[in-house]
Chain length 229, copies 2
Amino acid sequence: MKPFTHLRQFDIPEASLRRLPIYYRILQEMDSTPGSHVSCTNLAKVLGLDPTQVRKDIELTGIVGKPKVGYPLTDLLHWIEDFLGWNRPKHAVLAGAGSLGAALLGYERFRNHGMEILAAFDTDAKKIGTRIHGTKVEPMLLLPAYVRRKQILLGVIATPAAAAQAVADQMIAGGIRAIWNFAPAHITVPPQVILQNEDLYYSLASLSFKLETRLGVQPVRERILICKK
Amino acid sequence: MKPFTHLRQFDIPEASLRRLPIYYRILQEMDSTPGSHVSCTNLAKVLGLDPTQVRKDIELTGIVGKPKVGYPLTDLLHWIEDFLGWNRPKHAVLAGAGSLGAALLGYERFRNHGMEILAAFDTDAKKIGTRIHGTKVEPMLLLPAYVRRKQILLGVIATPAAAAQAVADQMIAGGIRAIWNFAPAHITVPPQVILQNEDLYYSLASLSFKLETRLGVQPVRERILICKK
C-alpha cells in the first residue's frame, strides 16, 4: 500500500511553517529604521493570534529575543529567511506549460522565496521552443536527462490530471526529491520523495462548505446528531 | 485589532474537509457497477490512512454504512457531493484577469465542485471586453454593482498584492460573504466574511523547508536544542 506522503509528519508543525511567512510579511511592512525591535505580543496583536503561539513559532528559527524588548526587526527577518531556506534558492523544473504553468512562471518572487524554475517542459509542439515569462519551454521527453544533468531536486507539476503520474515518475527517475503537484490527480511517490499537493478543488471544497454552513444551508449539527443515532 | 479570519474554527475539522475530496476522487476511480460497496478499511488501505479516521470523516456526511459491507459506492459519492455542496454551485466573480486569473477561469471543473465564475473584472483597458475561457472581462469599477445585482456571495481575488485589499473591500460592499484570496497579500475582512488565503509563497515555504530538512541542510533538532538552552 502506498502511503499518502504529504500527510507524513515532520519535526516542525505544518501550521508553524505556514505562519512564519505570515509573520515575515507583517514584519516587512513594519518600521525598519536601524535598531527597531518587535515583540511577539506586538506581532500577535496585529494578527489576532495568541502571543505564546507566536513566540513558539519564532523560537523555532533559533533566534533568541530580549525580555520586554523583543527581537531586532532586521535580525528576525533574516532568521526567518534562513530557517525557511529563502536565502538558498533551490533549482526547479516545471512540467506543463498551460495556463496554470504560465501563471506559475509569472510568480517572479518565487526566486526570493527559495525556488528558481530553470526550465519548463511540455508535450505541445506549439509551445516547445517558446519562452514564457522568460523561461524556455523544452520537450517533455528531455525532462529526466535535464534534471539529472543539472542535479535538480524540485519538480513542479502543472499538467492535466491524466499526465501527472507519468510526469512524476519521470521526475523521480531523473533524481527529483520533492514534488509540488498542482494537477488535480492522486499521485503516488516512493517514501524518499516529498509530495505536496496543491489541489484547488480540495481547497474550494473547504471554502464552499464554510460558506454554506455560515448561510445555514448546511445544518451541520443536526446532521451529525442524526448520524450518531 | 482585526482577527485573522481564515484561522477561525468551524464545526468540522479542516483536515476532514480536505480529506473528503480525496476519498471522492479515489471512489470515482473504483468499480462503479450497480450495487458495488466500499468499506472504510478498503479506502483507508488505498490511501495509507487510519481506518477509524476515514470512518469518522465519512460519518460527518451523515451517511450510515452497513457493518462488514460498507457503503454503496454511488450513494457515498452522492453524500460527499451533497455534504461539500458540490451539487449546489455558488455563483462567483473573479477580480484580476492576469495569468493567474486566466488559469483559474480555465479550471472547468470548478463548476462541478460548487463554484461557477460568472464574470471577471480587471482595470486593464486591453483586457476589458475580451473573453477568457468563455468568461467576459468587465471593468473593475462595475464589480460592486454587479455583485449586488446578481446577489453573488463568493469572490475570487487574483489581482497583484497592492490591489487586493481595495478589491476585497469593494466585494464586501457589494455583498460578498466569502473571499478566496490568491493575491500574496495580508488582507483583513469583517468577522461575518469568510476569508481563505491561497498563498503559494506560504506553501512553497513549507515544501522548501521539508526538502532542506530531508537533505540535512536544516539541522532542526540541533537548532531547537540551542534555542532552548
